[in-house]
Protein backbone atom coordinates (compact mmCIF):
# COMPACT_ATOMS: atom_id res chain seq x y z
CA UNK A 1 0.00 0.00 0.00
CA UNK A 2 2.83 2.32 0.93
CA UNK A 3 4.62 1.58 -2.36
CA UNK A 4 1.44 2.36 -4.21
CA UNK A 5 1.12 5.71 -2.44
CA UNK A 6 4.72 6.63 -3.25
CA UNK A 7 4.22 5.61 -6.88
CA UNK A 8 1.03 7.66 -7.08
CA UNK A 9 2.74 10.71 -5.58
CA UNK A 10 5.64 10.44 -8.03
CA UNK A 11 3.24 10.01 -10.95
CA UNK A 12 1.12 13.00 -9.93
CA UNK A 13 4.21 15.16 -9.47
CA UNK A 14 5.53 14.15 -12.90
CA UNK A 15 2.20 14.87 -14.58
CA UNK A 16 1.89 18.21 -12.80
CA UNK A 17 5.43 19.21 -13.73
CA UNK A 18 5.00 18.29 -17.36
CA UNK A 19 1.84 20.38 -17.62
CA UNK A 20 3.76 23.45 -16.34
CA UNK A 21 5.33 25.37 -19.17
CA UNK A 22 8.80 26.71 -18.61
CA UNK A 23 8.24 29.50 -21.10
CA UNK A 24 5.17 31.18 -22.52
CA UNK A 25 5.51 32.97 -25.86
CA UNK A 26 2.97 35.49 -27.07
CA UNK A 27 2.63 37.08 -30.49
CA UNK A 28 1.53 40.67 -29.92
CA UNK A 29 0.27 43.33 -32.31
CA UNK A 30 1.19 47.00 -31.91
CA UNK A 31 4.72 46.36 -30.66
CA UNK A 32 6.66 49.09 -32.43
CA UNK A 33 8.59 50.96 -29.77
CA UNK A 34 10.75 50.66 -26.70
CA UNK A 35 8.05 52.28 -24.55
CA UNK A 36 5.68 49.50 -25.59
CA UNK A 37 8.22 46.92 -24.49
CA UNK A 38 8.97 48.78 -21.28
CA UNK A 39 5.30 48.92 -20.29
CA UNK A 40 4.71 45.26 -21.07
CA UNK A 41 7.81 44.16 -19.19
CA UNK A 42 6.75 46.18 -16.16
CA UNK A 43 3.25 44.69 -16.24
CA UNK A 44 4.33 41.06 -16.61
CA UNK A 45 7.00 41.27 -13.93
CA UNK A 46 4.22 41.96 -11.44
CA UNK A 47 3.05 38.33 -11.63
CA UNK A 48 4.63 36.42 -8.74
CA UNK A 49 5.14 33.47 -11.13
CA UNK A 50 7.23 35.50 -13.58
CA UNK A 51 10.92 34.67 -13.58
CA UNK A 52 11.98 36.63 -16.67
CA UNK A 53 10.48 38.65 -19.52
CA UNK A 54 11.91 39.05 -23.01
CA UNK A 55 10.38 41.39 -25.59
CA UNK A 56 11.36 41.36 -29.25
CA UNK A 57 9.95 44.12 -31.42
CA UNK A 58 11.41 42.44 -34.50
CA UNK A 59 9.43 39.25 -33.91
CA UNK A 60 6.39 40.83 -32.25
CA UNK A 61 7.14 38.45 -29.43
CA UNK A 62 6.72 38.65 -25.68
CA UNK A 63 8.17 35.68 -23.79
CA UNK A 64 7.71 34.97 -20.10
CA UNK A 65 9.64 32.31 -18.23
CA UNK A 66 8.03 30.93 -15.11
CA UNK A 67 9.37 30.18 -11.68
CA UNK A 68 9.53 26.50 -10.79
CA UNK A 69 6.13 24.99 -10.14
CA UNK A 70 4.25 28.21 -10.87
CA UNK A 71 2.02 29.25 -13.74
CA UNK A 72 0.12 32.18 -15.24
CA UNK A 73 -3.10 31.41 -17.08
CA UNK A 74 -3.66 32.43 -20.69
CA UNK A 75 -6.59 34.55 -19.55
CA UNK A 76 -4.42 36.47 -17.07
CA UNK A 77 -1.72 37.01 -19.69
CA UNK A 78 -4.23 38.24 -22.26
CA UNK A 79 -5.73 40.61 -19.70
CA UNK A 80 -2.31 41.95 -18.72
CA UNK A 81 -1.37 42.65 -22.34
CA UNK A 82 -4.78 44.14 -23.15
CA UNK A 83 -4.57 46.34 -20.05
CA UNK A 84 -1.15 47.46 -21.26
CA UNK A 85 -2.75 48.58 -24.53
CA UNK A 86 -1.76 45.77 -26.89
CA UNK A 87 -3.45 42.94 -28.77
CA UNK A 88 -2.45 39.32 -28.17
CA UNK A 89 -2.70 37.25 -31.35
CA UNK A 90 -1.39 33.91 -30.10
CA UNK A 91 -0.08 32.20 -26.97
CA UNK A 92 2.08 29.08 -26.94
CA UNK A 93 3.67 27.19 -24.09
CA UNK A 94 6.80 25.09 -24.13
CA UNK A 95 9.58 23.70 -22.00
CA UNK A 96 12.11 25.77 -23.93
CA UNK A 97 14.45 27.59 -21.53
CA UNK A 98 14.50 31.36 -21.89
CA UNK A 99 18.17 31.22 -22.84
CA UNK A 100 17.21 29.15 -25.89
CA UNK A 101 14.43 31.58 -26.79
CA UNK A 102 16.91 34.42 -26.58
CA UNK A 103 19.40 32.55 -28.73
CA UNK A 104 16.72 31.72 -31.30
CA UNK A 105 15.73 35.40 -31.51
CA UNK A 106 19.36 36.39 -31.86
CA UNK A 107 19.89 33.88 -34.69
CA UNK A 108 16.77 35.11 -36.45
CA UNK A 109 17.86 38.76 -36.45
CA UNK A 110 17.87 40.11 -40.02
Amino acid sequence: MKRFQVLLAVTLFTVASSSMAATIEMTVNGLVCAFCAQGIEKKLKRFPATAEVVVSLEHRLVAVSLKDGQDISDADLRKALTDAGYTVKAISRSETPMADVRERLKQAQP
Binding site: V28, N29, G30, V32, C33, A34, F35, C36, A37, Q38, G39, I40, K42, K43, V55, S56, L57, E58, R60, D83, A84, G85, Y86, T87, P110
Partner: protein
Amino acid sequence: MVRLFVGLCIAVAVAAPAVPKPIAFADGTTVMAEYGAGTMQELQIFYAPRFDYSVGGGHVDFSSDVDDRREHINYARLNWLAHRWNLDDAQANIFVWGGAGSATGNQFTGTRIAGNAGVQVDYETRRVYASMKSDLQRSAEFSDRIDTLQLGVAPYKHDYGGVATWFVFQARHYPGELHSGIETAALLRLFKGGAWIEAGVTNAGKVQAMAMFNF
Protein backbone atom coordinates in the same frame (compact mmCIF):
# COMPACT_ATOMS: atom_id res chain seq x y z
CA MET B 1 13.25 77.04 -18.16
CA VAL B 2 16.23 76.64 -20.51
CA ARG B 3 18.39 75.60 -17.57
CA LEU B 4 15.77 73.08 -16.56
CA PHE B 5 15.70 71.71 -20.09
CA VAL B 6 19.48 71.44 -20.27
CA GLY B 7 19.51 69.73 -16.88
CA LEU B 8 16.94 67.23 -18.04
CA CYS B 9 18.92 66.57 -21.23
CA ILE B 10 21.97 65.77 -19.17
CA ALA B 11 19.92 63.55 -16.88
CA VAL B 12 18.67 61.52 -19.82
CA ALA B 13 21.84 61.60 -21.86
CA VAL B 14 21.56 57.89 -22.49
CA ALA B 15 18.66 58.50 -24.44
CA ALA B 16 10.65 55.18 -26.70
CA PRO B 17 7.96 55.35 -29.31
CA ALA B 18 8.97 57.28 -32.36
CA VAL B 19 6.20 59.71 -31.55
CA PRO B 20 6.11 61.71 -28.32
CA LYS B 21 2.90 60.69 -26.57
CA PRO B 22 1.18 62.06 -23.48
CA ILE B 23 0.71 58.49 -22.23
CA ALA B 24 3.68 56.14 -22.29
CA PHE B 25 2.34 53.03 -20.58
CA ALA B 26 0.10 51.94 -17.71
CA ASP B 27 1.47 52.88 -14.28
CA GLY B 28 4.11 54.98 -16.00
CA THR B 29 5.29 58.51 -15.39
CA THR B 30 6.32 60.76 -18.26
CA VAL B 31 8.48 63.86 -17.89
CA MET B 32 8.84 65.93 -21.01
CA ALA B 33 10.64 69.20 -21.67
CA GLU B 34 10.69 71.11 -24.94
CA TYR B 35 12.53 74.15 -26.15
CA GLY B 36 10.64 75.40 -29.20
CA ALA B 37 12.98 77.72 -31.08
CA GLY B 38 12.48 80.57 -28.65
CA THR B 39 8.74 80.75 -29.33
CA MET B 40 7.61 78.20 -26.76
CA GLN B 41 9.18 76.36 -23.85
CA GLU B 42 7.28 73.69 -22.00
CA LEU B 43 7.71 71.24 -19.16
CA GLN B 44 5.16 68.49 -18.56
CA ILE B 45 4.76 65.71 -16.00
CA PHE B 46 2.06 63.05 -16.39
CA TYR B 47 1.18 59.86 -14.57
CA ALA B 48 -0.84 57.16 -16.36
CA PRO B 49 -2.87 54.91 -14.00
CA ARG B 50 -3.96 52.98 -17.11
CA PHE B 51 -2.73 52.74 -20.67
CA ASP B 52 -5.56 54.93 -21.97
CA TYR B 53 -5.37 58.02 -19.80
CA SER B 54 -2.92 60.11 -17.84
CA VAL B 55 -3.17 63.06 -15.49
CA GLY B 56 -0.67 65.72 -14.62
CA GLY B 57 0.32 69.22 -15.44
CA GLY B 58 2.81 71.52 -16.96
CA HIS B 59 4.21 74.95 -17.47
CA VAL B 60 4.50 76.68 -20.81
CA ASP B 61 6.05 80.01 -21.81
CA PHE B 62 5.04 81.66 -25.07
CA SER B 63 7.13 84.41 -26.58
CA SER B 64 5.82 86.00 -29.76
CA ASP B 65 8.32 87.09 -32.36
CA VAL B 66 5.53 89.03 -34.07
CA ASP B 67 4.45 91.52 -31.41
CA ASP B 68 6.72 90.80 -28.40
CA ARG B 69 3.77 89.36 -26.49
CA ARG B 70 4.61 86.92 -23.69
CA GLU B 71 2.48 84.51 -21.69
CA HIS B 72 3.32 82.11 -18.89
CA ILE B 73 0.84 79.35 -18.10
CA ASN B 74 0.65 76.71 -15.38
CA TYR B 75 -1.93 74.04 -16.06
CA ALA B 76 -3.45 70.73 -15.01
CA ARG B 77 -4.43 68.33 -17.75
CA LEU B 78 -6.15 65.03 -18.49
CA ASN B 79 -4.88 63.09 -21.53
CA TRP B 80 -7.05 60.38 -23.04
CA LEU B 81 -6.20 57.78 -25.62
CA ALA B 82 -9.44 57.93 -27.59
CA HIS B 83 -8.54 55.06 -29.88
CA ARG B 84 -5.62 52.80 -30.70
CA TRP B 85 -5.12 50.50 -33.64
CA ASN B 86 -2.68 47.67 -32.95
CA LEU B 87 -1.63 46.41 -36.37
CA ASP B 88 0.82 43.60 -37.21
CA ASP B 89 3.84 45.87 -37.56
CA ALA B 90 2.39 49.27 -36.78
CA GLN B 91 0.42 51.25 -34.28
CA ALA B 92 -1.89 54.24 -34.73
CA ASN B 93 -3.43 56.42 -32.04
CA ILE B 94 -5.80 59.26 -31.45
CA PHE B 95 -5.15 61.23 -28.27
CA VAL B 96 -7.22 64.11 -26.95
CA TRP B 97 -6.59 66.26 -23.91
CA GLY B 98 -8.00 69.13 -21.95
CA GLY B 99 -7.45 71.05 -18.76
CA ALA B 100 -7.27 74.38 -17.02
CA GLY B 101 -4.75 76.60 -15.33
CA SER B 102 -3.62 80.12 -14.63
CA ALA B 103 -1.81 82.56 -16.89
CA THR B 104 0.20 85.73 -16.59
CA GLY B 105 1.55 87.90 -19.38
CA ASN B 106 3.07 91.20 -20.38
CA GLN B 107 -0.08 92.40 -22.17
CA PHE B 108 -2.33 92.25 -19.12
CA THR B 109 -2.06 92.63 -15.37
CA GLY B 110 -2.76 89.95 -12.80
CA THR B 111 -3.61 86.34 -13.39
CA ARG B 112 -6.18 84.90 -15.77
CA ILE B 113 -7.83 81.52 -15.88
CA ALA B 114 -6.67 79.64 -18.96
CA GLY B 115 -8.12 76.54 -20.58
CA ASN B 116 -6.24 74.09 -22.75
CA ALA B 117 -7.30 71.46 -25.24
CA GLY B 118 -5.65 69.44 -27.95
CA VAL B 119 -5.65 66.44 -30.23
CA GLN B 120 -2.94 64.22 -31.69
CA VAL B 121 -3.20 61.62 -34.42
CA ASP B 122 -0.18 59.41 -35.07
CA TYR B 123 0.90 56.36 -37.01
CA GLU B 124 4.19 54.56 -36.57
CA THR B 125 6.09 51.51 -37.68
CA ARG B 126 9.68 50.78 -36.72
CA ARG B 127 10.91 52.60 -39.83
CA VAL B 128 8.51 55.50 -40.44
CA TYR B 129 6.10 57.62 -38.48
CA ALA B 130 3.78 60.56 -38.95
CA SER B 131 1.97 62.63 -36.38
CA MET B 132 -0.27 65.68 -36.39
CA LYS B 133 -0.91 67.61 -33.21
CA SER B 134 -2.91 70.70 -32.37
CA ASP B 135 -2.49 72.25 -28.92
CA LEU B 136 -4.52 75.25 -27.74
CA GLN B 137 -4.05 77.48 -24.70
CA ARG B 138 -6.79 80.07 -24.34
CA SER B 139 -7.89 82.77 -21.89
CA ALA B 140 -9.88 86.00 -22.07
CA GLU B 141 -6.65 87.77 -23.07
CA PHE B 142 -5.07 85.40 -25.59
CA SER B 143 -5.57 82.36 -27.76
CA ASP B 144 -2.36 80.52 -28.60
CA ARG B 145 -2.45 77.42 -30.72
CA ILE B 146 0.42 75.34 -32.03
CA ASP B 147 -0.22 72.98 -34.92
CA THR B 148 2.63 70.50 -35.42
CA LEU B 149 3.26 68.01 -38.20
CA GLN B 150 6.10 65.52 -37.81
CA LEU B 151 7.39 62.97 -40.29
CA GLY B 152 10.13 60.59 -39.22
CA VAL B 153 12.33 57.99 -40.86
CA ALA B 154 14.58 55.52 -39.05
CA PRO B 155 17.74 54.41 -40.87
CA TYR B 156 17.46 50.98 -39.21
CA LYS B 157 14.93 49.02 -37.16
CA HIS B 158 15.77 49.25 -33.50
CA ASP B 159 14.81 46.65 -30.92
CA TYR B 160 14.20 46.86 -27.18
CA GLY B 161 17.45 47.55 -25.42
CA GLY B 162 19.11 49.13 -28.43
CA VAL B 163 19.49 52.77 -29.37
CA ALA B 164 16.87 54.02 -31.82
CA THR B 165 17.75 56.76 -34.30
CA TRP B 166 15.22 58.87 -36.18
CA PHE B 167 15.53 61.68 -38.68
CA VAL B 168 12.56 63.96 -38.21
CA PHE B 169 11.06 66.73 -40.29
CA GLN B 170 8.82 69.08 -38.34
CA ALA B 171 6.51 71.84 -39.56
CA ARG B 172 4.75 74.19 -37.18
CA HIS B 173 2.06 76.78 -37.56
CA TYR B 174 1.14 79.25 -34.83
CA PRO B 175 -2.37 80.60 -35.60
CA GLY B 176 -2.28 82.75 -32.44
CA GLU B 177 0.26 85.24 -33.89
CA LEU B 178 3.17 83.83 -31.92
CA HIS B 179 5.18 83.33 -35.08
CA SER B 180 4.47 84.40 -38.62
CA GLY B 181 4.45 81.81 -41.37
CA ILE B 182 5.34 78.13 -41.17
CA GLU B 183 8.32 77.15 -39.06
CA THR B 184 10.13 74.04 -40.24
CA ALA B 185 12.84 72.11 -38.46
CA ALA B 186 15.17 69.19 -39.13
CA LEU B 187 15.71 67.06 -36.02
CA LEU B 188 17.80 64.13 -34.92
CA ARG B 189 16.07 61.92 -32.34
CA LEU B 190 17.75 59.25 -30.23
CA PHE B 191 16.14 57.03 -27.66
CA LYS B 192 16.93 54.03 -25.58
CA GLY B 193 14.75 52.30 -23.03
CA GLY B 194 12.59 54.91 -21.37
CA ALA B 195 14.52 57.98 -22.32
CA TRP B 196 14.88 60.06 -25.42
CA ILE B 197 16.47 63.25 -26.60
CA GLU B 198 16.10 65.16 -29.83
CA ALA B 199 17.59 68.34 -31.21
CA GLY B 200 17.81 70.25 -34.44
CA VAL B 201 17.48 73.62 -36.08
CA THR B 202 14.60 75.52 -37.63
CA ASN B 203 14.55 77.24 -41.01
CA ALA B 204 15.37 80.45 -39.08
CA GLY B 205 18.49 78.84 -37.64
CA LYS B 206 17.06 78.55 -34.14
CA VAL B 207 17.47 75.56 -31.84
CA GLN B 208 14.55 73.17 -31.44
CA ALA B 209 14.99 70.47 -28.80
CA MET B 210 13.10 68.06 -26.62
CA ALA B 211 13.81 65.47 -23.96
CA MET B 212 11.48 62.88 -22.50
CA PHE B 213 11.89 60.34 -19.77
CA ASN B 214 9.49 57.52 -18.91
CA PHE B 215 9.67 55.42 -15.80
